[in-house]
């Protein structure tokens, strides 16, 4: 007599624990409750905020159970870990059974067993058995049921099945959840999220990461050329747009405009338009029409600037603001011996001028900094693959089924007797209809 070593017992106990659906129901239930708490208690505030809002005693409690960062807390991650183990073990536990059903030798059966299948039909044919088998196999094949056959003692058994692989649907659903979680882990380990505020005309090559107080070197530079907002007639914002230029070692490698919902990805790093900041400065662009010389000037409000080369002096002397955006600007500009020109202009408007005997173009706008969300997430493809698979798996599990048909043909007195039986693992009603249509078809032919 040998006793089992206790390690095996522990192992099998653990295995059974994680293979149980009861645990799955419990874990999902606890995840629900935890998530509810996480939506009721505002997340991510400072400790003092909770003290003010809920009192010191409760704030301590929140702190103890990490309720202010519930979804990032260790115990919430542990719950997801339990769910994952549960999924893995449960699937492994059931896989052999399911695999057996998929690969089973369905011809290895007996006539008695076929007779006991509820969905069956019997009839006789005047054709000889061999011809009958041939004809049935041909007809079934033409209707998408490829048959295999085996000679039994007294007759021939034909078998055909469809959708055996659909039994794997639930397996795919569970695996996809794991794939999505894997993607999330990859993203949090190898990726980063950060923000950058880039004034027009400036560039950055480092990004401050959110949450952690560190920064990431991009390996290239991002310059904001211009930032613009378009408005609807009623004053609501219609479009935020940043014209970005990417530079590597000072060389421009890419120009692109980004808008909300239309980010830019370069070397795995994606830039999203997320916010902006308006300055009290203005950007004035002057173009000498004859020589084509062009200069961009950042001009503080009511400060004079000069374009030395051309001996021009100019500034913004007044501005009209409607709902915190500049709707008009009053420009003052003069050459060395001209009388000063003073005029109003709209943002984005270009006005021709003659200064010092030469033609110029002038345009002006408020200066902005664009706020970018910057993210690198190498796990996102895992997440999207998981999402696609979960939908495919759900569709397979719920709408497709494993259907089998057996037909036994044998000589009975003068005639050829036919016994047809069918079974399905799901959607019984749908298969009933299909089965009776098939039998009608075969009865008419043999």
């Amino acid at each position: 007599m040998t006793t089992k070593p206790s390690s095996v017992n522990v192992f099998s106990l653990l295995w059974d624990f994680f293979a149980s659906v009861k645990l799955a129901l419990l874990t999902l239930g606890v995840l629900c409750l935890a998530s509810i708490v996480g939506t009721i208690i505002p997340q991510g505030e400072a400790f003092s905020w909770y003290v003010r809002k809920f009192g010191p005693w409760q704030a301590q409690l929140f702190n103890l159970f990490q309720l202010s960062d519930l979804f990032g807390s260790l115990w919430f991650k542990a719950l997801l870990g339990i769910l994952s183990c549960n999924l893995i073990i449960c699937s492994l536990d059931r896989f052999p059974q399911i695999w057996k059903k998929i690969t089973a030798d369905n011809l290895d059966t007996t006539v008695v067993r076929l007779q006991s299948i509820k969905r069956n039909s019997r009839w006789t044919s005047s054709l000889p058995p061999a011809r009958t088998v041939e004809e049935i196999a041909r007809l079934l094949g033409r209707n998408g049921w490829k048959t295999s056959s085996r000679e039994l003692d007294n007759g021939t058994l034909l078998f055909s099945q469809r959708g055996a692989w659909t039994r794997l649907g639930f397996f795919v659903v569970h695996a996809s959840i794991l794939i999505i979680l894997t993607g999330a882990i990859i993203g949090s380990l190898l990726g980063f999220k950060g923000t950058a505020l880039i004034p027009e005309g400036r560039s950055v090559s480092e990004i401050r990461t959110t949450g952690k107080s560190s920064s990431v070197d991009l390996g290239f530079e991002v310059r904001c050329d211009t930032f613009g907002i378009e408005y609807y007639q009623n004053g609501m914002p219609k479009e935020y747009r940043s014209d970005l230029t990417l530079l590597e070692q000072g060389r421009e490698v890419l120009h692109k405009s980004i808008m909300v919902n239309h980010p830019l990805t370069y070397k795995g790093i994606t830039f999203y338009q997320s916010s902006f900041e308006a300055y009290r400065d203005f950007i004035i662009t002057l173009t000498d029409k004859e020589s084509g010389d062009r200069q961009i000037f950042v001009t503080p409000y009511q400060k004079q600037r000069t374009w030395e080369e051309k001996a021009l002096r100019f500034g913004v002397i007044n501005a009209e603001v409607s709902e915190d955006r500049i709707s008009r600007m009053k420009i003052w500009i003069t050459g060395p011996d001209d009388a000063p020109s003073v005029f109003w202009m709209d943002p984005g408007q270009t006005i021709p001028l003659t200064l010092h005997g030469r033609p110029y173009l002038i345009s002006a706008k408020q200066m902005y900094a664009t706020g970018l969300q910057v993210a690198k997430d190498p796990g996102v493809w895992w997440v999207y693959i998981g999402c696609t698979l979960i939908l495919a798996g759900l569709f397979t599990t719920f709408f497709l089924s494993h259907r089998k048909i057996w037909i036994y043909v044998h000589q009975e007195k003068q005639a050829t007797a036919i016994l047809m039986a069918g079974s399905t693992n799901k959607n019984k009603a749908g298969f009933d209809g299909h089965f009776s249509r098939l039998t009608e078809l075969l009865k008419a032919a043999v």
Binding site: V21, K22, A24, L25, L28, G29, L31, C32, S35, I36, G38, T39, I40, P42, Q43, E45, K53, F71, A184, K193, Y232, N234, M236, P237, K238, E239, Y240, M259, V260, N261, H262, P263, T270, Y272, Q273, S274, Q373, V374, A375, D377, V380, V383, Y384, C387, I390, L391, L394, F395, F398
Partner: protein
């Protein structure tokens, strides 16, 4: 006629439709059957026209977008999806009794949309974050799911009513409750409807995540709306597992269908009007 008038008519038509289905059930007027179905189908067409017109009107205003971008429009689409789904069920399962439990929800949604002061009814232009085809797919998929869960809750209610009376009297076709479908059939349709909803909700959560990713660079940020949609998803996942692997059925599944529905309503309404209130109070 403009879209508002079409949608106004729809509200009354669904009210009348509700009355017809309830009358057929309570007074057992089988003769009304064809008329009721036709009437409901016509009401649906009127609503479809209303939605189409609203779409067109937005283009005439120069801010063209599908009528699926704010709470008001989504409630209307919700009612639309309930009726479409209900009519499909009526056609597939050849029974009109479910109408008395499903159509009222469409009427309530329309009534809420037209009477509530919380909702802005005008067609407004889309702020940049909302200008995305993913948003449109997100709203469509979510609300088809929600509509299915609503019908499932109606069926759950029907099950509980039937079950309670069955356990008191021996049921026969002559009593009011006796005319309800047999229990096993109610359960079967409830289950199928929940499965249908589950697939659409899954798609809805996914399209929402893709949209968030393209707009902000994070597919999941545990904000209350996302979290509640996940809670709802868990509730139905629990229900499907309890039924499939632990053989739960009958009353328990009916209750879960109703609990799931409350979770749906909370995801949809509660997060906007209860939690956001809670949170904005906090930030003040």
């Amino acid at each position: 006629m403009n879209s508002a008038q079409f949608l106004g008519i729809t509200t009354f038509a669904y009210m009348f439709s509700t009355l017809l289905y309830v009358a057929m059930f309570v007074f057992k007027i089988k003769r009304l059957g064809k008329f009721t179905t036709c009437f409901t189908a016509i009401a649906l067409l009127v609503q479809t026209a209303g939605l189409g017109l609203r779409w067109q009107e937005s283009y005439q205003m120069g801010i063209g977008h599908a009528p699926l971008t704010n709470m008001y429009e989504s409630v209307i689409f919700f009612a639309w999806a309930i009726i479409v789904l209900y009519l499909l069920i009526e056609w597939k399962f050849k029974t009109q009794i479910i109408g008395a439990f499903a159509v009222p929800f469409a009427f309530l949604a329309m009534a809420y949309a037209s009477l509530s002061k919380d909702l802005t009814k005008g067609i407004s232009p889309l702020i940049p974050a909302l200008q995305s085809n993913w948003l449109i797919s997100h709203v469509i998929t979510c609300f088809i799911g929600y509509a299915a869960f609503t019908v499932a809750a109606g069926l759950g209610l029907m099950y509980l009513i039937k079950e309670t009376s069955d356990s008191r009297h021996s049921s026969n076709d002559k009593t009011l409750i006796g005319s309800l479908l047999p229990l096993h059939q109610i359960e079967d349709i409830t289950h199928k409807t929940m499965i249908f909803g589950f697939i659409w909700l899954t798609a809805g959560i996914i399209t929402g995540a893709v949209w968030a990713d393209s707009a902000w660079g994070t597919y999941w940020s545990w904000d209350p709306k996302e979290t509640w949609s996940l809670i709802t998803w868990f509730v139905y996942a629990i229900t499907l597992h309890a039924r499939y692997t632990r053989g739960w059925g009958g009353k328990r599944i009916a209750w879960l269908a109703i609990i799931g529905f409350f979770s749906v309503i909370f995801t949809y309404y509660g997060v906007n009007f209860i939690l956001s209130g809670l949170h904005s109070y906090g930030s003040n």
